[in-house]
Amino acid sequence: MAGLFRRKAAQANHHDSAADDIIPIAQVQTREIVRVCGHVTRIRQRPAQGLPSLVVTLSDDSGRATAVWSGRRSIGGIGLGRTLVVEGIAVQTPDGPTFLNPSYTLLNVAGH
């Protein structure tokens, strides 16, 4: 888990330059840490046999990605229409690139 915390720390330190390395979802490569930005277009809760998880679909102009947070039913601030920056390593799935427990940054306020 240390990498996650390292990434979070690095992200906090370089928050101003966060936009620099954001890539379109369609260009996401697996096996490397990437950062994408998109609108939340779908939120599902998946009670996977007792372990809840939050499955969020992010869309940008180029495509769709999925972020999964395990052990959570909701995350404060993540709602439909919000813009999120998500950072982590993606795995290719039928739902597009999928991030497992990525670090995230909330960008705007819903409905504004």
Partner: protein
């Protein structure tokens, strides 16, 4: 392929030897220097000494370039942590985990980064059930976290399928009979193959087709053995 095996016990060492013999690049991780030395005596298996539940150890074992990570320690908690790290931090395409206590099996899913879980006690139970049960539906193998299953039925005299050909059984589209074992011989099934009493029928089912398949091959409703 580059394969990392976490846990150099008898299971891990055996896998390492077999996979090496098949031409794969194998790295074993164990935090017990004695275990690691035992392995290092072997030929060609790389050994990383350290706790596979720690990111640094996995980094040293080059998990970032591994095609497969197999978490096969004797400890289910460790296997889950290793699986989660492999998937979440390194995006390893295929993560295989060993389930030691069948009561923990429900946790070994994609939420923990596990693509395939193998439970030895469960497998043994299923094989014993398969050996002793005639006329009941025994699950042998789950694929893709239970989305598809291979199951076995030994047809009892009372089975509605006896005496009918496969094409007239009316099996659901999400299922197919993959093999028949008749008098110790494997019969490759065709649509016109007629099922007989005591045939062992191996059937592949996907999704929710299982109940319908059981209805066709066994008849009356019955709880599945070995789930």
């Amino acid at each position: 392929m580059k394969i990392i095996i976490a846990g150099a016990g008898s299971v891990g060492r055996y896998m390492a030897d077999q996979l090496l013999a098949s031409g794969h690049e194998v790295t074993l991780i164990d935090n017990d220097p004695a275990m690691a030395r035992k392995t290092a005596g072997g030929k060609g298996v790389a050994v990383t000494l350290g706790d596979a539940c720690e990111l640094d150890t996995l980094t040293r074992a080059d998990a970032a370039n591994a095609d497969v990570v197999a978490a096969v320690t004797g400890d289910d908690e460790d296997n889950l942590v290793i699986s989660l790290l492999a998937k979440q931090e390194f995006g390893v395409p295929r993560v295989v985990a060993r389930v030691n206590n069948p009561n923990n099996e429900w946790m070994f899913n994609d939420m923990w980064g596990v693509d395939v879980s193998v439970s030895t006690p469960h497998l043994l139970t299923a094989l014993v059930e398969e050996a002793v049960n005639v006329g009941s539906f025994v699950r042998l193998l789950s694929l893709e976290q239970g989305k598809a299953r291979i199951s076995e039925v030994t047809l009892a005299t009372s089975s509605p399928a006896v005496g009918r050909s496969i094409s007239e059984l009316g099996l659901p589209r999400e299922s197919t009979i993959v093999a028949l074992v008749r008098d110790g011989h494997v019969v490759v099934p065709r649509g016109d193959t007629t099922l007989l009493t005591h045939d062992e029928v191996l059937v592949l089912t996907a999704g929710d087709a299982e109940d319908a398949v059981r209805e066709v091959l066994v008849g009356s409703k019955q709880t599945p053995a070995g789930s």
